[in-house]
Amino acid sequence: MTVQLTHFSAALVFALFASIVFGITHRESVRDMVRYGLCCFVMFLGGVLVAGWAMWLVRR
């Protein structure tokens, strides 16, 4: 059995699970964990989108 993810879905999966671990391990209270996890998720995905558009601009 093999799984084939697209570039974006691979980045999405990576961002989701890495954010969960970052949130749990880097903050003390549950509320802070959730907020930090969400922040990491947005930063991961935002970074992907910004880098993608930057590469598109460089290529033009």
């Binding site: 093999t2 084939q4 999966v13 749990i24």
Partner: protein, 138 residues
């Protein structure tokens, strides 16, 4: 000077902190999240196990490469250290000869990175379990 100017007071260490300080990181390395679970942080442990386990298994299913112990290229050695962090997932994969075949998918390199990151995330989880055990974190 009063203690209130020195920041938050540290929570008291649990009575069996010495044993847990050794046991929690060890168990947490073998089974990701187990270091939290044995300290009754059920949800945190479960989430860590699910996150790290899913990343590693997805990496395997994407035909990612598993690094063995080696003394060659520095990137191969770092890959081995990353993979090793996944504990039982890495040991079982090596024992079953998973992740050692020829790569046939274009996205297999993502799988390799997923497994390395899963191991590195588990190192962070192990450190967190240790901090909980010594009372540095709630």
């Amino acid at each position: 000077m009063t203690n209130s100017t020195l920041g938050k007071p540290k929570p008291p260490a649990p009575p069996n902190a010495g044993t847990l300080a050794i046991l929690a990181p060890a168990v947490g390395w073998i089974i990701p999240g187990a270091g939290h679970i044995i300290q009754k942080r059920w949800i945190r442990g479960g989430l860590l196990l699910a996150s790290i386990g899913t990343l590693f298994v997805l990496g395997l299913l994407m035909q990612g490469h598993i690094y063995k112990a080696n003394g060659g290229d520095i990137l191969d050695m770092l890959g081995f250290i990353g993979d090793l962090g996944a504990g039982a997932f890495y040991i079982v994969s090596l024992a079953m000869n998973w992740g050692l075949g020829a790569i046939a998918l274009a996205t297999a390199d993502y799988g390799t990175k997923f497994m390395i990151v899963a191991g590195l995330l588990n190192f962070i989880a192990v450190a967190d379990a240790y901090h909980i055990a010594i009372g540095k974190k709630q």
